[in-house]
């Protein structure tokens, strides 16, 4: 299959900007990478393999993503921490012109305020991405974790 290099680049660029926003603690801009009706969920590969839908986070709109960030900033109690995402190049699974399905592997290190650093999560983004003029946005971002274990808590999105 011939890959549309422009599409490949736009997916890669979207995920690069998306993870950079999270890693730089610009969480307020995180919902802007999604369509207003964009979906975001985090589940485990084990649940997905068994057809079980319920995982760690489940949002069906950009507004729910804004609520998540607002809660992190104002309501929830957790120790200061940040992430560093490392991504592979995406693979375009489907390309229907305006809608793309892409898979990208990731690893995330979590760095605590104390300096303690651990490999926090590995997995795959399964992204449904809409190309609209010069805009590239997530219609759906499924974060599928390789492991079922989360150390302590999962506050910041992946």
């Amino acid at each position: 299959m011939s890959v549309n290099l422009e599409h490949q680049f736009r997916v890669q660029d979207l995920n690069a900007r998306y993870t950079e926003a999270i890693d730089d603690d610009r969480l307020e801009s995180w919902p802007d990478f999604f369509l207003p009706e964009g979906k975001y969920l985090i589940n485990t590969a084990e649940n997905v393999a068994h057809g079980l839908p319920l995982g760690f986070m489940f949002a069906t709109s950009q507004a729910m993503l804004r609520d998540r960030i607002k809660a992190l900033r104002q309501a929830n109690i957790y120790e200061a921490q940040r992430y560093r995402h490392v991504l592979t190049a995406p693979r375009l699974v489907e390309d229907n012109g305006g809608v793309l399905l892409a898979r990208t592997s990731f690893m995330v290190a979590r760095v605590m305020h104390s300096g303690e650093t651990m490999l926090f999560a590995t997995g795959m983004y399964e992204d449904r991405i809409v190309l609209n003029g010069d805009k590239t946005l997530f219609a759906e971002k499924k974060v599928i974790l390789d492991s079922r274990q989360i150390d302590t808590l999962l506050a910041i999105p992946l």
């Binding site: 649940n47 760690f56 986070m57 609520d67 109690i77 989360i150 302590t152």
Partner: protein, 410 residues
Amino acid sequence: MNVVANPRAWPSDSLTRVPYWVYSDQALYDIEMERIFRGDTWSFLCLEAELPRPNMFRTSHLGDMSVVVTRDGEGKVHAFENRCAHRGALLCHKDRGDAKEIACVYHNWTYDLCGKLTGVAFRRGIGGKGGMPPDSHPEEHAPRQLRVETFCGLVFGTLGKNVKPLEEFIGANITPSVRRVMAKPVKLLGGYSQILPSNWKLYMENTKDSYHASLLHMFFTTFRLNRLSQKGGLVVSEGGANHISYSMSADTAGKEYEQAKMRSANEGFALEVPEVIKSVDEFGDGIGLQILSVFPGFVLQQIRNSLAVRRIVPMGTDKTELVWMMFGFEGDTQELHDLRMMQSNLIGPGGFISMEDGAATGFVQRGSRGAASEMSVVEMGGQGIGSEESRVSEAAVRGFWNTYRQLMGV
């Protein structure tokens, strides 16, 4: 009461003081595994729904000991130690699967689904040479079989010789609340686990601590999901091992938290999508929240329409795995299913409410590190371990320690 071979003595007869060394002492931890988890208590192993067909297995734990839970060809549930009679290797190294027999991968010794040793590879040797002497009885070292009882679709196991039948162990004032939630055939929705940076006892205390919930968790208080001013209660089983804390959905709209300037009451905080806390009264009794625990390591959760079982797996003095399984019921309407999905955002390590319990128990583990000879103060609601109308009480926490001290002989 037996006396523990531990140089540290409990500082007081009162249940209102708990010495901090209980969270960090390795020798004590080893005795806990023996006397509590492998002693006269019932440990939750899994939901029956996790073994939906005959000839299936899944692995679970009795404390830090791995066990195999099976459903045999006739549909009966069994559990046995996950250890080969031969060299002690794990018999099942997968989480779950289908099997008519269990074979150890190391030397192909085989077991039936009750855990009985049924075959020793080349027991009589090959061509008349080698093999095991006729007077050898490896069966004597077979994995220990657990006594198993199921109640409302919950599978429990024990190695205890003197433990009461399961329902009696849970207690007559607790079992109706298990039945209340486990009212219909279970449909699994998803599972995950959370590694807590703390001793297992800190998590069980957290669960039984009805006083903390609305003070730590801003979501509970701000959105009036659970306030100590809401009608509810604390039910403690005889002797204190098991508990229920519940609150009614109906709120008095009181301003007690705001007037007392509690951090968790934040009137300025509102959600754009309040559907995440929208719920229906599916059990028809107005109870919006019910947290139920069974000593030593089981929790049954109803937070609005979010239902889950949680079990603890101790992993050393300062590490605990908390295994969650969320569920609904066969025949749930699409609307109810969608509510459970939405409310999944409240619980687990990423939950608006539950994430904070992972932080809080870790804070105690670290905060008390240099203070082994100091002790915590568990005196809310007095000294007793009885049921109470008020949840501004640590009666269930004291009940935990009463049971713990009896089993441990400290």
